[in-house]
């Protein structure tokens, strides 16, 4: 059965983020001026996801190397976004990511305690990724780089839970047929299944309808969204369950890992669903 391998230090898994850096990413999410710029929101969301992965890999006083993580930015250039102590790495171990943020900010978090009272506490907010929005949308080049990175990775991790690739974009590829490269990416396998490719399309329009994990191409409104639908993998059972739990929606068998016109919470939820491993010990 696919997607059942346990994630462990012996058999780690891999997450690879592809981040659209095109100029349009400097527009606000959903086109609403009060919202943050898409590039800023996505960078912030990825930093939070990295924190969550580190916390989930932390055990008492150590960080267990359950994951390798890569981030490829595509805009005026296509390259790994790791910087500082992680510079030149395509995939970094989660323990090294923990040790090498660009900086650590302090942020005030609001929460509710067990009595229902609002509380505030200061928390550390490490930053690894900065917002960028400059250039075109060379998605094919990014997918091609992902193919190279993951072919190498699966050759060494055949018993592992397959890599998860999350493509965050607000537009169409303008360097070729992204579907072709997506198919090649999805054909890469470990003994536990094929690479899972999720697409998170950030909305630019306040009136556009968000489509969360659709199961039929006919649900898609235009050619562009149909292409992204077909690029995206069917959600494995574990992710479907997580998606149902998090969203409260019924996620059909055969639903694609695709969120179209994602609003702020849609982007956050999609990232959480893609990176909350159900197979951790």
């Amino acid at each position: 059965m696919a997607y059942h391998a346990e994630i462990s230090r012996t058999n780690p898994t891999c997450f690879l983020f592809l981040v659209d850096h095109s100029t349009s990413m400097q527009d606000p999410v959903m086109g609403i001026p009060e919202n943050p710029k898409k590039s800023e929101f996505v960078a912030n969301a990825i930093n939070k996801v990295l924190q969550s992965l580190i916390v989930s890999a932390s055990k008492d006083l150590e960080i267990r190397n359950y994951y390798q993580v890569g981030i490829i930015g595509y805009g005026f250039e296509v390259k790994s976004l790791w910087a500082g102590g992680l510079r030149d790495q395509k995939l970094a171990w989660i323990d090294d990511i923990y040790k090498n943020p660009l900086r650590i900010e302090e942020r005030i978090i609001k929460d509710v305690d067990e009595n229902g009272d609002e509380i505030e506490f200061v928390t550390k907010f490490p930053v690894w990724v900065e917002p960028v929005s400059k250039g075109q949308t060379p998605m094919c080049s990014a997918l091609n780089m992902a193919v190279d990175v993951l072919k190498e990775w699966v050759a060494e991790h055949q018993e592992s839970f397959p890599p998860t690739v999350i493509n965050l974009t607000d537009g169409e590829s303008n360097d070729g047929d992204a579907k072709k490269f997506a198919e090649e990416l999805k054909s890469i396998t470990t003994n536990d299944g094929a690479v899972v490719l999720l697409t998170v399309h950030a909305s630019s329009n306040p009136f556009s309808e968000q489509l969360f994990f659709p199961s039929k191409a006919a649900q898609m409104p235009d050619h562009f969204s149909k292409v992204m639908f077909s690029m995206s993998s069917e959600l494995p059972e574990g992710m479907r369950k997580t998606a149902s739990e998090l969203t409260g929606l019924e996620i059909d068998n055969g639903s694609r890992g695709f969120v179209y016109n994602a609003d702020i919470s849609g982007i956050v939820q999609a990232l959480e669903i893609g990176t909350r491993p159900s197979n951790l010990p």
Binding site: E6, S8, R9, D60, L61, D113, E114, K124
Partner: protein
Amino acid sequence: MPQNFIVKWHSATVQKAGNSPLENEDQFSPVMENGAIVQSEVFRCALADGATQSIFARQWAKHLVDDYVEAKAISDLSSIVEKASKKWGQDVKNIALDWPAQEKMRKGAYSTLLGIEFGILSENPHSRQDTGNWCAFSIGDTCLFQYRKEFLVKSLPGKNEIVFNNSPKLIGSLASSKLPAEESPHIGDWRSGDDFFLMTDALAEWAYKCVERSVNVPGIIKDKLTRKSKTNSFSDWISNLRNQREIRNDDTTLIWIKIY
């Protein structure tokens, strides 16, 4: 000296493959040599499975089983948990934590707990007993099986209540954590010669499947726990079951109590 009943003890534990023994988060109390014999009018033991995703779960599981066994009375589980919670808090309060650990510390540690107390029915505590009663708490997927010869008399949690997944009921270590609801004790009786097996979830899931297939679970377990040779030991057996995908790769603990 009272000789109300005799307990013969065997136990074995093996950590998840790929981990070190110090990372084994299954904890039990008491800890005795295999084949040890205890004569008593009351005997308690407890087994707990610390939740790997929580912080300092091994220490939490250890406090829970120790405090259960040492408690003045086992009827008030919440006071046992409260005492263990204070000890766990003392253990961890001076540890310098990095930010990921601080994040996990906000939720505390979690563990299952199965505790059982054997007692007597007679009002004459000095007479030799060949029957008695037991009282057990069961929170989570750590299981108890009572066998009379080869027949399963009782299992906890029951076959219809138990679900083996990644979200069993757990006891939290923080003072703010609440005990899972409806945790009243289970009671039963024992007869001389009965076998009690306590198991953490991976092996318990296997045992339940064996019961469904009418496999002689006590026979297999006793054989594995009493072999003298170093080869074909409990850990070899568990390793084989893991390799054959008959049990999950998890910390695995088995206690066998024979009472007579």
